[in-house]
Symmetry: C2
Subunit: 320 residues, 2 copies
């Protein structure tokens, strides 16, 4: 761990909670009810955010922290998924111009989902995505809003952890899906500051298990992008966690576990039927880990983060 990367504090997260309160939903913690009337765990319903995912919290916090010059110059991001929608929506609410760089091969439905919030869309070859976003930032003065490796974003995502601690008095364990690590970084920072006895478990698809491998090795690992693209959990295909995210994970997370593709797909249906929430594959990964005993709960109270709900309706229909 580098001393130069300061960890996000619970005070940072509390400040973020105030900044995002008008834009983001305080999402409920919903019981997952089985057919026989047991409640094996609770589900934090982040898919109910206006853009369908927790990403709105981090983007809203980052944009709220812009100064007047930055606001005039606008924001830029590179993503085709839930972070893109979040930046576009948060910018619209804040009255700030947003440019989103999206790969040419991204499906139109994802482009439309971002464009509907009024963002300017720039389509580029996939390999030029980051470079073009940085160039736009450099040319126009627009502030780059990274998807996870950013203290403002981590603090925003951490508000999920603040809420869970307030909502669930007898909490034992929080189970969090991981891609770049923004969500688990923030949640773990909040939970460990307020309830150090509560365990925080990170979950990845086996097919995008760069963090699980790095966790076992004791150092951050980067996987070939082609490998992480294999998982059905399209929100979790990042090739590694971020640098700042690795530091938070090393400092605060108790364990990292993985789930199979079948387990993820089955969990989508279980969450829809048992918690009455729409959930995308990436959003069902934490539930999958609990449903398949990857996390020791031992009669305690577990909360799975259902991180997003942006699923193709045809896929949803097959999985319910």
């Amino acid at each position: 761990m580098s001393d130069s990367r300061a960890l996000v504090s619970v005070d940072d997260i509390r400040a973020a909670a105030e900044r995002i309160a008008a834009t983001c939903l305080r999402t409920p913690v919903v019981p997952l009810v089985t057919a026989d009337g047991t409640v094996p765990f609770l589900v934090k319903a982040e898919g109910l955010q206006a853009t369908g995912a927790f990403k709105l919290r981090g983007a809203t916090n980052a944009i709220a922290l812009l100064d007047d010059d930055q606001r005039r110059a606008g924001v830029v991001s590179h993503s085709s998924g839930n972070h893109a929608q979040a930046v576009a929506y948060a910018a619209k609410v804040a009255g700030v111009h947003a440019t989103i760089v999206i790969p040419e091969n991204a499906p139109d439905v994802k482009v439309d989902a971002t464009a509907r919030w009024g963002a300017e869309i720039v389509r580029v070859p996939p390999e030029e995505r980051l470079q073009r976003a940085e160039q736009i930032a450099s040319d126009t003065g627009a502030e780059l809003i990274p998807p996870y490796d950013d203290a403002r974003v981590i603090a925003g995502q951490g508000t999920v952890g603040l809420e869970i601690v307030e909502q669930v008095a007898d909490l034992d364990v929080v189970v969090v899906p991981v891609s770049g690590g923004g969500l688990v970084s923030g949640i773990a920072a909040a939970v460990k500051a307020l309830r150090p006895d509560v365990r925080v478990i990170a979950v990845e698809p086996e097919l995008a298990g760069d963090l699980a491998e790095g966790w076992a090795a004791g150092e951050r690992r980067v996987w070939p992008v082609a490998d992480t693209q294999r998982t059905v959990a399209d929100g979790l295909r990042t090739d590694s966690v971020g640098l700042l995210n690795w530091d938070h994970i090393a400092a605060f997370v108790d364990d990292v576990v993985t789930v199979s593709e079948d387990e993820i797909l089955t969990a989508v249906g279980t969450v829809v039927r048992g918690a009455r929430l729409v959930v995308e594959a990436s959003g069902a990964v934490a539930a999958a880990a609990l449903l398949h005993d990857r996390v020791e709960v031992g009669g305690g109270v577990a909360v799975a983060i259902a991180s997003g709900a942006n699923i193709d309706p045809e896929v949803l229909a097959r999985l319910v």
Copy 2:
């Protein structure tokens, strides 16, 4: 209106809110987002209650009001739907014995959904349902928990209205599905006490439009049960609103409108995709009224109550 039937007050509803706080979820108000990024109205997500419907509020309040003798004797109800599950669940949480009288022709899935909460199930010919429940109450001293025509139940359902007023500052209109009228009675009592300028609109399926007919006529109407059975909204097939419910509706509701079967079924898919909530047909009726301009909103803020989420997964798959 009879002077002998006192209306439920906002203080009754506030007291109910305290009684049910540990058992019932304070459900979120979620934006319904269209494909083009507009938010025509908000959705109050009552399907997220542990039993999948708002009914848990009224049942929990009624059971919390039992005295010690009544608690020992238990409770009885007659229903095969969401009220049965609610009474069974609320009784289990309260440590009270529940007997649920269910018609022999009710599908097993509904019986199982109630039995899983530990209730004693008594199956009888459909026409003997009420009589048997009353007989059990008389024989055992068990307290009958009616589904809607009851001040305790109305006060419990009214907590939905309290929450909406707290959650939505610039509220203009609340749109509520009606069957027996417990939900709309409670919501309207709360909303009109706290925000008399806010309109409360009741919605029925055209095929179970006994209240719409009664509203136009200025007196409560009872439809043949065979007629109300025609609607796909199986939670709204009651032949009339209750007597106490009629009084609340006459006192507090601004208008009654109806929606077609096609409009209800389309609205299920729209709510699932746009608000990321599972919703049953009965729960989509209020959204249907807003989606098809049965309610004048005029740029104001409207909340549709999504009253329940207990939908057959195969039906859900067809409608998303």
